[in-house]
């Protein structure tokens, strides 16, 4: 209860013309009232901090364990300056820049994010963020349906099962039918023959992930493009790989999606993430989400503002291109800062390291009796599938005893991949981490 004797409150009540705060709630019917919220009373900052510290201590961080998990969320190096900038409260306590004149900082930073991602992906326009890579894919499928007025969307089996479920949920509403294209069991790449069978006059769009969920680089992308012809081509990326891998815009993509978490955003137990969404100029008006445009102020000075808002829910309501309102802007600023700090050569080097280390680790695992890595005969980025003749449960348990978190198991979602796991390594894994894994695996033989 607010202290009713506080003179300021009294004065406010007098101005309103009521005698108590309760009177302001007199229109709430008795039958819907509650006695009180059944929660403990508030605590001071010190006590709350201590309590939460005690709870969070039960977590094991990357400082405590050696982890080979990836599968959509990656532990990459983040320069301290990133946190310093996004920790500036002028940024993080602002909201959507509705008042452009007072929000040039956020607007310019987001324009720079859009520009940097456009350069990386080879698209003309990138929106100022989607929730994550999975929802960006869902939105891309809807955009293909909108643009083409066709009823089927083709996606590869080699995507994360969570993404597949999200895609399914996003597609349901407009009745878009999803068709899964298989992969080549030998090299893990998209099954071109199957793709050819699936593409037809009802195809609204085709999605390919590069690298795919197994870390495999899809290098027959030109053939994919040949097969799908003019059908809308959606490409999913891991943006770090684009330091050395060709921009999707250079191999025919119409829409690019992905997750920019690896570019300057921590793992955070799964979120927030940063959905990338970009497209070619001719499709811009059908794009979901917010976009920042470059313009002028009344003095002719360069300035920025939100633009193409007539696509958005607050204006267009049921005819909007998406329902998204709050997005992941601060993560986009983090990514802009990250890319500016790492720079051209840094990103190239990071991409190279991540390819090289994955290959090196796979070869070392492959050298151990009972293990095969990579399972697929292809070029990999960041991660690769390991298969084993041993029981993977036993392997995982053994690793756990050594303070190692093995890769994510695949068999539950890919029944054809028995006794397999997806292992990931990045620049944050020191040489000792690889050694520890190899040593532990060797003990099993």
């Amino acid at each position: 209860m607010m202290c009713p004797d506080n003179p300021k409150i009294k004065e406010m009540l007098r101005t309103i013309g009521v005698s108590s705060v309760n009177e302001l709630f007199s229109d709430i019917p008795r039958e819907v009232r509650i006695e009180r919220l059944n929660l403990p009373d508030g605590k001071c900052e010190l006590d709350v901090k201590k309590e939460i510290e005690a709870i969070l201590k039960k977590n094991k961080t990357t400082d405590d364990i050696v982890s080979f998990l990836g599968a959509g969320i990656y532990d990459h190096f983040i320069p301290s300056a990133v946190f310093s900038i996004i920790g500036r409260s002028e940024f993080y306590t602002s909201y959507t820049p509705y008042q452009a004149e007072a929000s040039q900082g956020m607007l310019q930073a987001l324009f720079e994010y859009q520009s940097l991602m456009a350069e990386l992906t080879g698209m003309d326009a990138i929106n100022s963020s989607m929730y994550d890579g999975a929802t960006a894919l869902g939105e891309a499928a809807l955009m293909c349906a909108r643009l083409s007025h066709k009823s089927e969307f083709i996606f590869p089996r080699t995507i994360h099962w969570e993404k597949k479920s999200v895609l399914d949920n996003y597609s349901k509403g407009c009745g878009l039918k999803l068709k899964e294209v298989g992969y080549n069991a030998e090299n893990g790449k998209i099954d071109l023959k199957h793709l050819k069978e699936l593409v037809n006059e009802d195809t609204a769009g085709v999605y390919i992930e590069n690298p795919n969920f197994f870390g495999v680089l899809e290098d027959e992308i030109d053939k994919v493009k040949e097969i799908i012809g003019n059908v809308l081509f959606v490409v999913g990326v891991n943006p770090i790989s684009l330091g050395i891998v060709k921009a999707p815009g250079d191999y025919g993509a119409d829409i690019v999606v992905g997750d920019a978490q690896p570019l300057g955003n921590p793992m955070n137990f799964g979120g927030p993430l940063l959905g990338i969404f970009g497209c070619r100029k001719k499709w811009i008006r059908s794009m979901p989400g917010r976009v920042i445009g470059l313009t002028k102020d009344a003095n002719g000075k360069r300035a920025f503002c939100m633009t193409l808002q007539t696509r958005e829910q607050h204006i267009r309501r049921s005819k909007a291109t998406s329902n998204i309102c709050s997005n992941e802007s601060l993560c986009a600023v983090a990514t802009a800062v990250y890319l500016s700090l790492i720079g051209r050569d840094g990103l190239k080097k990071l991409a190279a390291i991540n390819i090289s280390k994955a290959r090196e680790l796979a070869q070392r695992i492959d050298g151990i009796d009972g293990f095969k890595a990579p399972l697929f005969n292809a070029h990999h980025f960041n991660e690769f599938v390991v298969s084993s003749s041993l029981d993977m449960d036993v392997v995982d348990e053994h690793l756990r005893e050594h303070g190692i978190q093995g890769g994510i198991r695949l068999n539950e979602h890919f029944e054809e991949l028995k006794n397999t796991a997806l292992y990931c390594t990045t620049e944050t894994h020191v040489a000792k981490a690889h050694d520890a894994l190899i040593k532990a695996l060797e003990e099993l033989v």
Binding site: F269, S329, G346
Partner: protein
Amino acid sequence: MNYHQSRYDEPLIFEIEEGEPIKVPNYPIKDNMIPKNLKRKGLDIPTLSEESVVRHYTRLSQMNYGIDTGFYPLGSCTMKYNRKVMEEIAGWREVTNVHPYQDDAAVQGSLEIMYRLQRMLCEIGGVDAVTLQPAAGAQGEFTGLLITRAYHELNGEKRNEVILPDSSHGTNPASAVMAGYDVVEIPSKAGCVDLEALSSAVSKDTAVLMLTNPNLLGLFEKDVVRISKLLHDHGALLYYDGANLNAIMGITTPGKMDFDIVHFNLHKTFGTPHGGGGPGGGPLGVKKHLEKFLPIPSVEYNGSKYHLDYDRSHSIGKIKGFYGNFNVLVKAYVYIKLMGSDGLKEVTERAVLNANYLKARLEKHFDIPFKNHRKHEFVVDGSKLKERGLRTLDLAKRLLDYGFHAPTIYFPHLVEEAMMIEPTETESKETLDDFVDAMIKILNEDVELVKNAPYNTSVRRVSEVEAARNLILSMRMYEK
């Protein structure tokens, strides 16, 4: 009036002189072979020194207005002050440096926070189960509508209509369409749901009614009990848009008002910062009969251990990757702990007091339709400004010169030249008085002066028309 925002002719990051960048971790590259046809050609991103990057973004931040700068009465957005301790805790390595697929045993801390937050939100929402997965309010809506669909389908019913009032937020109809529904918009009467219009709209095709209470005019829908009965009698569900929860905590709950589904905007009511647009959090709560449809996984507790439970018989599956914006969830948890039962009620009382005080003071100078008390916000009708050749937009821009963020403008659509004002509970009487003084002063200012505002921001009035006419969304489009 002595507000002056920083003003730099700040170049784009692409236009800054290149320098020696920070080093990336060193690792001997043995084999970075990639297929020939996948080799990248050029990469045109800048290479800069750390200090030039930091100075650039520091200057940009100084050209940005946040709650920490001043009053931010953006209606419907609940721009309350964000406690710093939330930021600190969310930055701990136990929060940031944990992978979502680590074994349950290695993430007991994260799971405990999530489990407890689920329980707290159940209490605040008056619901039986909560999913923390949705990334924002709009995604909560989408999730709730997919659940609605799954519920009716399981009952063997095909209901294809979502009813919502014309004052509803744009995300409501947009989410409904994304979930495959037809939207039936009903007119308001005296700012509230018109029961008659509602009765004639409800039918066996009605899947759900989406409502926020108090609504977007800040008015409490007094007929809520009759409304929920009407919908339930027709076999339809009720969805509560939780954007305005700040107005009812400790007084009533959506569950008590008989709503079946409710989303929470953590970045509004629960004081997590808005991040320049996000990230936020949009957990969704449901009554018992809908629990089985919630997304997977849920966080459960067996008396000694927390675990992720994927075993939900009729789950709609996933609506986003992983488990939600965990970092934001931590902040909301901290907030609720700090406030507690007593504090949350006080939040509501003060938010409502502040709104009504501001309304009472402004009423003498502006048209404020609907005479009843408001809850946490109210809408000003700015059409009278036209008599002087001004618009709400001009007033909003001029407010910036006085060091205030403008209210939400031109929404809700049913009030002409609308100005939607939500002061929140964290503002002092002095701030509110200063804001009123500025509003009144602007009314009496020279028309041309107001029309050409703002003057004290980092740029003068920005041309949205030019941005739309000559679309430049990236450096690539700039240079082309």
